[in-house]
């Protein structure tokens, strides 16, 4: 199902606006991540789509028809809560069958049919044999999968997941992530999930919508938002990012007081601006004629496959962070206190 969110606004009593004229479209069958820091409004958006909150203004369309006035029950969405919200007094099978058993009599499947459906779904989420357990007897990952099976049981038009892996430990989270991706490919539900973990968003989704202060900053494929961020916020949020305040003259960027440009060939108007470069876009160099930076390696730490270096650069208040891959032949030469020379292989400049 297609979902169109158009210029939605929502404010809670006594707080700054949670959503500030947010627009977004979700295409049928895709797995979309809503990524943003806490308090950015991403959960509010998810709840508005589900019908658990009412927007103050704006339009919400399901397959092109207005859905804003439909009740939660009528929307037929599958919602998975961060803390699972399982019914604790019901067994796993009863939890999964709840949506079917709660239908009005005319549309309610027979008991054996409900049991068959729950068993089928429990097999899908790989929880066969746990039908008669109570939620408190399950691990976090198992509970999450029960919640998912319960949401899928009503054959929802869209699956909404609020921080689905937020309360799980790293290993389980990684397994479930891959598993959810497979499940999505298998069932083909339109799925929207909220997360504050950029790695999760990048790994799992078809498209990522980055939300900040109640607005969409950028929507795109994971590689797009990572490689070509649309704003300084996206750049900083999608991973570590060095900010370099520079003066641009004729397409060349200079740090304060420097005569050698940091980068050249920029298509940016002259004047002060900030350049952004990720740690892995800063490389060691021996060429001292082209653009580049000289400084002192201050802290040097080993991480899997790379060397993390904090570099002090004259004219720069903060340390420059760089990741040197161990495939770089010169990495062993970098030691704390040593002068090093680097250049930027890639950088971003955003219109202010």
């Amino acid at each position: 199902m297609d979902i169109q969110v158009h210029d939605i606004r929502k404010a809670f009593d006594g707080h700054a606006a949670a959503l500030n004229g947010l627009s977004l479209s979700v295409t049928s069958g895709e797995l979309l991540a809503l990524l943003g820091p806490s308090g950015s409004g991403k959960t509010t958006l998810l709840r508005i789509i589900a019908g658990l909150e009412t927007p103050d203004s704006g339009r919400l369309l399901f397959n092109g028809t207005d859905a804003a006035h439909r009740s939660v029950q009528e929307r037929n969405v599958g919602f998975v809560f961060q803390h699972y919200a399982l019914f604790r007094h019901m067994t796993v099978a009863q939890n999964v069958g709840f949506g079917l058993a709660a239908r009005p009599r005319a549309r309610r499947p027979s008991r054996p049919e409900i049991r068959r459906r729950s068993e089928e779904l429990l097999a899908l989420v790989q929880l066969q044999g746990l039908e008669h357990r109570y939620p408190t007897q399950l691990s976090g990952g198992q509970r999450q999968r029960v919640a998912l099976a319960r949401a899928l049981a009503v054959e929802p038009t869209v699956l909404l997941l609020d921080e689905p892996f937020g309360a799980l430990d790293a290993k389980v989270r990684k397994d479930l992530r891959r598993w959810l991706r497979d499940l999505h490919d298998h069932t083909g539900h339109t799925t929207v999930f909220v997360t504050h973990d950029q790695e999760e968003a990048l790994e799992l989704s078809d498209r990522v919508a980055i939300i900040n202060a109640g607005r969409v900053e950028q929507v795109g494929r994971p590689s797009e938002v990572y490689l070509t961020p649309a704003s300084a916020f996206v750049c900083g949020f999608m991973g570590a990012c060095n900010g370099l305040p520079v003066q641009v003259r004729d397409g060349a960027a200079f740090l304060n007081g420097a005569t050698r440009p940091v980068a050249d060939g920029l298509r940016v108007a002259d004047g002060p601006t900030v350049m952004y470069a990720r740690p892995h876009d800063v490389a060691l160099t021996t060429d001292d004629t082209g653009p580049g930076l000289c400084g002192i390696a201050e802290a040097v730490r080993v991480a899997p496959g790379l060397l993390r270096v904090d570099m002090a650069v004259p004219g720069l208040d903060t340390r420059l962070e760089l990741d040197i891959p161990m495939s770089d032949a010169h990495w062993t030469a970098v030691r704390p206190g040593q002068p090093i020379q680097v250049r930027l292989t890639h950088c971003h400049v955003f219109p202010s």
């Binding site: 019908g51 939660v72 919200a85 399982l86 007094h89 709840f98 709660a102 109570y134 319960r150």
Partner: protein, 286 residues
């Protein structure tokens, strides 16, 4: 392992714990309960034992006594059921809605605790008497409340209300809203959510409130005697009969009634506790 060691292991009272003080607190609890509860009650049991078996049963099964017990337990049960339903409703309104005067109403719930029961009894009797504010219109409809078992139920509902409200309220407050939202997203109507999601969650607390209101109703004296009319075989409650027997210096009969009340109450409360334990386990607090 020798059998003695297995037995010792099985009968070990306490599991190793990082929280110290088990011996001290258990000792205190036992001493305290002995002084406050067991000694007075065993006095009653002791006294009734001196009556002799046959004598005891002939006193306990006297028709007037049986009828008084039936009225006491019956009205207490009905009142506790009424309180369980409407007390939950009151708790629901107090927790779920915000309206002017809510705190005042919340405070008023405890008044039946604070008011001397005799005052409550006289007030209720005046209200429900055939010429009272409420009794008059009811009398016009052909209903009499005062001086009948219905009057007793009214008085017991009054004194028992806070028990249900105060036990259900905190549980309702802590109830996870997401669970209700989950039910709604699964297509459940409000009534369905109430029935299959909220009520089961409230059940243990509701049972506690019910048991407390019931126990209080069985033993209630002050508020009942004014409105009940105290007609033997019709609206005479067991506690009143005990007092009557005492005034006749018939301690033997008073003791017998007291002992029977004690046994019945203990049995019923134990039963409620067992049901509660079962529902708690089911609910995962086990």
């Amino acid at each position: 392992m020798p059998p003695a060691a297995i037995a010792a292991r099985r009968w070990r009272v306490r599991a190793p714990s990082v929280l110290p003080g088990f011996g001290l607190t258990l000792g205190f609890t036992l001493t305290y309960l002995t002084l406050i509860v067991f000694v007075p009650l065993s006095g009653l049991a002791w006294h009734s034992a001196t009556l002799g078996w046959e004598n005891f049963w002939s006193l306990a099964l006297a028709p007037r006594t049986v009828q008084a017990l039936r009225i006491s337990f019956g009205t207490a049960l009905i009142a506790a059921i009424v309180n369980a339903i409407f007390g939950t409703l009151v708790a629901w309104v107090l927790v779920r809605y915000r309206f002017p005067g809510r705190r005042l109403l919340d405070a008023a719930v405890d008044l039946p605790f604070a008011l001397p029961t005799a005052v409550a009894g006289i007030a209720l009797a005046a209200l429900y008497a055939p010429n009272g504010w409420i009794g008059q219109p009811l009398a016009d409809l052909g209903l009499t409340v005062a001086y009948t078992p219905v009057g007793i139920v009214v008085a017991l509902v009054f004194v028992g209300l806070p028990f249900v409200v105060r036990t259900v309220q905190p549980v309702l407050q802590d109830l996870d809203r997401e669970v209700e939202e989950a039910a709604a997203t699964l297509g459940a109507s409000r009534a369905r959510t109430l029935r299959s999601v909220i009520l089961p969650a409230l059940a243990p607390a509701l049972l506690t409130g019910f048991a407390l209101a019931f126990a209080r109703g069985v033993g209630e004296y002050g508020s009942v005697i004014f409105i009940a009319g105290n007609i033997p075989f019709v609206s005479e409650i067991a506690p009143l009969l005990i007092v009557i027997r005492l005034e006749e210096f018939n301690t033997a009969a008073a003791t017998a009634i007291g002992a029977v009340m004690l046994m019945l109450s203990f049995g019923l409360l134990l039963l409620i506790n067992l049901i509660q334990g079962w529902s708690r386990r089911r609910f995962g607090h086990g």
